[in-house]
């Protein structure tokens, strides 16, 4: 009569009473199967306890840094307790690029857009794999539910991504004159490349809703599009700051001369 799984686990954790522990020890002395179980579990716990943390992907810092730089533009946000308000309180040294320039009203959109996109990415992570797992265990009712659920979740994810995209597009389109025509054209062309990819992925998902590569490629497409739009907005902002810096110098130069 083997000890229960619970008893073996308690044994490993040292939470059995003395009498029960003795029982298990005696059983283990004569049972290779249970000994193997205990050894395996101990090995798993040892391995997970000793495992060094895995490094985050290389791109993680670049994305984060971009989001932070966007936040830093946002010195006009009222009531913020973070870095931005401290900057305004006068950090003294270090002239930050753009932090003392007059910023146009849409700049707060940048931080909002960055935050929105990240929130979207987190909140709308649907889990197609597990749904498909359910289908495979052969419970038909659950499978039907699962398929429906995937559809719904995917549509919700799409909607959220598309909102983020629209917000960024609005900024990019309204301020595109900051960019020279060739660059603007290159960016538009590449956004079209991404849109093409998105529409191919979408068609694939419609044709084969359970296909993980199809779903994955659709989500990848949205993220890539958002990334490019964010970069476009950041670029526009840089150009604008440069323009304003130049204009401010000219204006201050003129003022000094009393004209």
């Amino acid at each position: 009569m083997h000890p229960s799984d619970t008893a073996l686990n308690d044994f490993i954790d040292g939470t059995l009473g003395a009498a029960e522990r003795l029982e298990v020890e005696q059983h283990l002395a004569g049972c290779a199967v249970c000994r193997q179980t205990v050894d395996d579990l101990r090995e798993i716990l040892r391995a997970i306890g000793e495992a060094e943390p895995l490094d985050a992907p290389v791109r993680a810092w670049s994305r984060l840094e971009r989001a932070i730089r966007m936040e830093r533009e946002d010195v006009a946000v009222p009531g913020s307790h973070g870095i931005a308000s401290r900057e305004r309180q006068g950090d003294g040294g270090g002239r930050q690029r753009g932090s003392r320039q007059a910023l146009s009203p849409w700049v707060p959109w940048l931080a909002a857009a960055a935050a929105l996109v990240l929130a979207v990415a987190i909140g709308m992570r649907y889990v197609p794999a597990r749904h498909v797992d359910v289908a495979e265990t052969g419970a038909p009712a659950a499978a039907g539910e699962a398929a429906l659920s995937v559809e719904t979740e995917l549509r919700q994810a799409e909607a959220h991504y598309e909102n983020a995209i629209k917000g960024l597009e609005a900024i990019a389109n309204s301020e595109q004159s900051e960019l020279d025509p060739r660059t603007a054209a290159t960016l538009q062309k590449n956004l079209a490349v991404i849109d093409q990819a998105i529409s191919e992925s979408r068609a694939a998902v419609r044709a084969q809703p359970a296909s993980e590569p199809a779903q994955q490629s659709l989500i990848d497409g949205f993220k890539t599009k958002i990334g490019l739009l964010q970069d476009t907005v950041a670029l526009i902002n840089e150009m604008r700051k440069g323009n304003e810096a130049g204009a401010a110098r000219i204006a201050s130069g003129l003022k000094q001369k009393g004209t």
């Binding site: 395996d40 090995e43 943390p53 973070g82 935050a115 992570r125 889990v127 597990r130 265990t137």
Partner: protein, 174 residues
């Protein structure tokens, strides 16, 4: 050095913040990936956590180490994520528990390969995975796990035990 780092971060020094990131990103990424059940989700959570840390560092009072403060922020964030996803997934959790086809990840005997282990943890079903990570990896006791996950202490224990056995199944083909 840390005191200086905190001061620099609070005054907006992005390089200093990057130092903090470099010091802690691996630990937090690993925690987030395991709690969320996938490296991709872990990466997104990592972003959110550090962005939140950046915004909130102004309110860090220095009554604990910066790393501890960051860890707590990360843990809370992971728990929020797990809870909100749990709410969506409730209907399906029970069916998942009945999963019978388990393909083993490795047939080798000890030692367990690091990546096999991570993958096996990722494959654990919701519920028992978080309990396992919090108890067996992060070192919280069952009472603490129960508080963090909003479950009963007995449930924490049974979920952790279930996770261990499933891991064994994945890794040993038994």
């Amino acid at each position: 050095m840390t005191v200086d780092l905190v001061a620099r971060i609070q005054s907006g020094d992005v390089d200093a913040f990057e130092t903090l990131y470099r010091q802690h990103s691996a630990r937090i990424y690993t925690l987030a990936s395991r709690m969320a059940g996938s490296a991709e989700d872990g990466e997104d959570l990592l972003q959110e956590i550090f962005l939140q840390a950046y915004r909130k560092v102004g309110s860090f009072k220095g009554d604990s180490a910066l790393g501890t403060w960051l860890y707590r922020l990360a843990l809370n964030h992971c728990l929020d994520f797990v809870r909100s996803r749990q709410a969506k997934m409730n209907k399906l959790t029970e069916t998942l528990d009945a999963e019978t086809s388990i393909e083993p990840t490795a047939r080798r005997e000890t030692p367990i390969a690091r990546l096999d282990l991570e993958r096996a943890v990722e494959r654990l079903p919701e519920g028992c995975r978080e309990a396992f990570v919090l108890h067996d990896v992060e070192g919280f006791d069952h009472k603490e796990v129960a508080d963090l996950l909003g479950i009963a202490e007995g449930t924490s224990k049974s979920q952790v035990f279930k996770a261990r056995l499933k891991l064994r199944g994945f890794l040993r083909g038994k």
